[in-house]
């Protein structure tokens, strides 16, 4: 176990390496470039392959080829680049190829800004590309959790044969924290479907084309069954001061981290505030949120977007009134802003 000081983007790279990832294909974009720069240096040291692709499209399709050939592969990007990857991600999801895709979110739409945001929540949690599919989406709150979730991502990807999205943002990507790095956690999964030359066995195909509608529907139903299995088994969340909370802040990623500070400050003032943080944005921890929300009077979702997760919260809590506080454009929500909002909700008598 090594304790080191690492930048978020580099920590993802190092964790991927230690999770057995040996193939990285990517294209530079702020604020995630340090991830590929790190792997450009590290992967050759462990006999892996780093390749800077000509585009995001090429990068994600190289991942497709590498994953189909049995390699543990990863790509990463930020907003505009992730949009370009969506074609490939839809193909990966249909072909059931395991890989990890990192999105270090920046402000959008369009080129937007290189500052952090959470504006890609909907894109990530609804599949993002064409057709009916979902992907596991994991959202860390610290560099340490980033590392831990990278290990989980590779496992989940191979266990379920699916691309997995690690959805983080420019703050976590760029900040530095001490992290504990396990030596190496590599689980080997049987891959009786890879295409590596059909020696002593019948040929295999990796494909997404189903010209027969019945066949395609069967394939879609098969994928949906997998998503259902995932939804049942892989839901994760974290609660903070849920036991006696009168007001519940619901936030993910960097907003949850800021929200935790706001909870601490408000608790010091004697206000019973708690925090609910989905770790898996898909599958969304609806049942756990419902349970946590039962005892609270006020609910407020805090996000760095216009209220994208709010829709999932509403689906989880039908009939409940849910407040929303959000910033966009690359502006990071501050603890003070959250505290003022909570006190307003509670009638301004927080003192």
């Amino acid at each position: 176990m090594d304790q080191v000081m690492l930048k978020g983007n580099e920590a993802i790279g190092e964790a991927a390496l230690r999770a057995g990832c040996r193939y990285y294909f990517g294209y530079p974009i702020t604020p995630q470039s340090e991830l590929m720069e790190y792997l450009a240096r590290r992967l050759p040291e462990v006999g892996g392959t780093f390749l800077q692709a000509e585009s995001e499209l090429a990068a994600v399709n190289m991942v497709y080829g590498a994953a189909g050939a049995g390699g543990r592969a990863m790509t990463s990007s930020s907003g505009p680049g992730i949009s370009l990857k969506q074609e490939g991600i839809s193909f990966l999801a249909s072909a059931e190829l395991p890989c990890v895709i990192v999105n270090v979110m920046r402000g959008g739409p369009g080129l937007g800004t290189i500052q952090p945001s959470q504006g890609d929540y909907t894109q990530a949690t609804r599949g993002g590309g064409h057709g009916d599919y979902r992907l596991p989406v994991l959202s860390p709150v610290s560099i340490q959790e980033m590392v831990d979730l990278v290990y989980n991502s590779f496992d989940m990807a191979e266990q379920y044969r699916t691309p997995v999205i690690l959805l983080t943002d420019g703050v976590l990507g760029q900040m530095m924290e001490p992290v504990l790095l396990p030596e190496e956690i590599t689980h080997e999964y049987m891959k009786p479907w890879i295409t590596d030359g059909c020696q002593h066995r019948p040929r295999r195909l990796i494909k997404t084309l189903y010209l027969d509608s019945g066949e395609l529907e069967s394939h879609n139903l098969h994928l949906q069954a997998k998503f259902k299995r995932l939804s049942a088994k892989e839901v994760r969340f974290e609660g903070y001061h849920l036991e006696d909370a009168e007001v519940l802040i619901i936030a993910f990623g960097i907003c949850a981290r800021v929200g935790r500070t706001a909870v601490d400050h408000l608790r010091e003032k004697g206000l019973r505030v708690g925090l609910f943080r989905p770790v898996t944005l898909w599958p969304f921890p609806s049942a756990s949120l419902k349970e946590a929300a039962e005892r609270v009077r006020h609910l407020v979702t805090v996000e760095m977007n216009a209220g994208q997760m709010l829709e999932d919260v509403r689906l989880a809590l039908p009939g409940r009134e849910i407040g929303f506080y959000g910033r966009m454009g690359g502006i990071v929500v501050s603890a003070l802003e959250i505290e003022v909002e909570i006190m307003r909700i509670m009638g301004g008598n927080g003192g």
């Binding site: 390749l51 399709n61 080829g65 994953a67 390699g71 592969a73 295409t195 590596d196 059909c198």
Partner: protein
């Protein structure tokens, strides 16, 4: 002992082609199959099928095959080859796929000198989607999206892919052949064989551009289509070897 002159290639599955009468894919598939058989590469090969009429190549070749998104076959092949450098990897792409939507992927794979082989079928239009104009459609050629014939003032000039890629340092072997008569077919097979051998020797990217007919979308009978290919297409797309570094390589002595 009686030796058969012609046998069905082992890796060609006993399935009837879905291609239109006179289409070049059947011939090209067979040539690829024969060469892989002859070089004994079946169990070391991973093919990449691209979007277009030929996407169903995996119905006909008894090989491990990955299907790629439109134009992205060279990127997929890059991923495969980087994981399995000792396997034999080839893409099979049409002109809409390779010269239009996948132009970046093919140019950069060639530029990187990726050690795989590209079989590029140029039939001067988009076959699968119903005969629209392709980057390879000849000036004046009528298609469903150039109904009065390709107007170069409006739609620009065709892309000559073999020539374009041959100026790069990455490729080892770039050639253009046709399959409009038996002699040409034999030459085409030799070129495919050579391209595969370049990969075997680790010389880098190799591509065989094959001029092929698309009678249905050209609105011609199969024979007329072959004549048009010979008269018009070859005039615009000259046959020949545009790059060949095999002779210069030290391993060529093997």
């Amino acid at each position: 002992m009686i030796k058969p002159l012609l046998v069905r290639p082992k890796i060609l599955t006993p399935v009837r082609f879905h291609y239109c009468p006179g289409c070049g894919h059947g011939v090209a598939h067979r040539l690829v199959a024969e060469v892989i058989d002859e070089l004994g590469l079946r169990e070391k090969t991973v093919g990449v099928a691209s979007v277009g009429c030929s996407i169903l190549i995996y119905n006909y070749l008894d090989l491990d095959i990955q299907e790629a998104a439109h134009g992205r076959a060279p990127a997929v092949a890059t991923g495969i080859k980087r994981v399995l450098p000792d396997r034999f990897v080839f893409t099979y792409q049409g002109d809409g796929d390779l010269a239009s939507i996948g132009l970046a992927e093919i140019v950069h794979a060639a530029g990187r000198g990726e050690n795989f082989t590209v079989i590029f079928i140029n039939n001067a239009n988009y076959g699968m989607t119903g005969g629209q104009m392709a980057p390879t459609t000849l000036p004046g050629q009528k298609t469903t999206t150039s109904p009065k014939g390709r107007d170069v003032g409006q739609a620009g000039y065709p892309l000559k892919m073999a020539e374009i890629l041959a100026v790069l340092d990455g490729p080892s072997y770039i050639t253009r052949v046709a399959i409009h008569n038996p002699g040409a077919v034999i030459k085409a097979k030799k070129s495919i064989r050579k391209a595969f051998q370049c990969q075997k020797l680790g010389l880098g990217f190799s591509m065989v551009e094959i001029l092929a007919a698309c009678p249905t979308n050209w609105g011609m009978e199969p024979l007329t289509a072959l004549q048009w290919l010979e008269k018009e297409m070859i005039k615009y797309y000259p046959l020949g070897v545009f790059k060949d570094t095999e002779m210069m390589a030290p391993s060529a002595a093997l």
